[in-house]
């Protein structure tokens, strides 16, 4: 919050200092995040394109994502709401770890990073559970026609669950499952790698690496990445589950 030196706009670009008042590593993390955000933006735009084209056959999210662990009844959107809460919560614990790092409070950094890792891991496991139910599908399934290469024609059969070529939620629109697998999968992979990176930094904090270095900027950098993961989920949540 308290940036000691204000920027002198006349001499900002004269060299000898960063016009951004930021270290090299942090700037590069931001640039990476911009490019990664464009990748996700591209994926979501492609999703919007498919959805616009197959608007008539596109399924409603509240009919597809209705499962909740240990509950028999179907509650639409409840589980994904919980997942969203967990990820936002882990974003808060991350920013508190960063804040503790600014005060060089090693103990608090450890506590908050620990909870961030717990939240992130819970989210990844929740997503695995969601994928499992999406792939296995419902008990009743849906009737659709599938190409049988041996017979050389389409055969009508009941389809259960989803894969890359056909899914019971939208029999005529494989793009629905494709988008689900690609976008939530790509995001889930980001969460997974975020958890791994957070864990490495967590070990470094415990081993006094940043205490010796004099600053906790590495916590800030992984924090940026972690908030980005949360940021992407905010959009995925809206476009996939709410709209």
């Amino acid at each position: 919050m308290s940036h000691s030196t204000e920027i002198d706009s006349k001499h900002a670009w004269d060299g000898g200092q960063s016009p951004f008042r930021l270290s090299y590593g942090k700037i590069m993390m931001w640039f990476f995040l911009v490019s990664d955000a464009l990748t996700f933006g591209g994926l979501l735009c492609a999703y919007g394109f498919f959805r616009h084209k197959y608007a008539a056959d596109w399924p409603k999210a509240e009919d597809v994502f209705t499962h909740f662990p240990f509950v028999e009844q179907h509650i639409p959107l409840a589980y994904v709401g919980l997942m969203t809460f967990i990820l936002i919560m882990s974003s808060v614990t991350m920013v508190l770890a960063v804040e503790a790092g600014h005060r060089k409070d090693k103990k608090k950094v450890i506590v908050w990073m620990f909870w961030t890792i717990v939240g992130g891991a819970t989210f990844v496991l929740s997503q695995a559970w969601e994928w499992y139910h999406f792939i296995v599908g419902t008990e009743h399934g849906a009737v659709g026609s599938v190409w049988d290469p041996e017979l050389g024609k389409y055969v009508t059969q009941t389809i259960y669950g989803a894969n890359m070529t056909i899914n019971e939620y939208a029999v005529a629109v494989p793009q629905f499952a494709n988008c689900f697998f690609f976008i939530t999968g790509f995001h889930g992979f980001h969460v997974f790698s975020g958890v791994v990176i957070n864990f490495i930094i967590f070990l470094n904090v415990i081993n006094n690496t940043y205490e010796k270095r004099g600053h906790y900027e590495m916590v800030e950098k992984v924090g940026l990445y972690w908030h980005f993961v949360d940021l992407v989920w905010v959009f995925v949540f809206t476009f996939f589950y709410l709209l």
């Binding site: 008042r21 084209k53 639409p76 508190l96 940021l231 905010v234 709410l242």
Partner: protein, 157 residues
């Protein structure tokens, strides 16, 4: 701390702050969290109610959700990622290229999506799906009947 053997100021230390500043920062962060939580709950409740009320898929509901999403995203970037407190040069460097490029992507999406959504502009790949629909119709009669989209396609072939 000059990692690159130059005499740049050590920017890593500049974000460090005192105990009092930390208290203030934490209060702001928790406030941001509560606002985001409330927004998410509102979204969920409305999303849950929408089908019963006939709001599902209405344009105003979509814009409502997108507005709240952008508000949440802005809160994350501004306070959690601390962009709001960086110098203005840096804000521009991050926000302007992204806004331009994503604006372009959305423009292309809307223009091409509208063109491609018209049956007369469908590609040959489409015939696979039309065939699937026809098979369904043949097997089940009116059940799983094809939409007007497919009929337009039939006329085209």
């Amino acid at each position: 701390m000059s990692e690159f053997n130059d005499d740049y100021p050590a920017y890593e230390f500049m974000s460090q702050h005192s105990e009092e500043d930390g208290k203030k920062a934490r209060r702001t962060l928790w406030n941001v969290f509560w606002v985001m939580l409330i927004i998410t709950l509102v979204e969920l409740v409305i999303g849950f109610m929408a089908p019963g009320q006939g709001w599902s898929g209405t344009t105003w509901l979509k814009f409502f959700f997108i507005t709240l999403t952008i508000a949440k995203a802005a809160a994350i970037v501004w306070w959690f990622m601390h962009l709001g407190h960086e110098v203005s040069y840096f804000k521009y460097v991050i926000l302007i290229p992204y806004t331009l490029l994503i604006g372009y992507a959305i423009f292309i999406l809307l223009v091409e999506g509208t063109y491609f959504g018209k049956p007369e502009n469908h590609t040959r790949v489409e015939s696979t799906f039309v065939q699937q629909k026809k098979n369904l119709e043949a097997a089940h009669g009116a059940h799983g009947a094809a939409h007007s989209d497919a009929h337009a396609e039939e006329g085209h072939h």
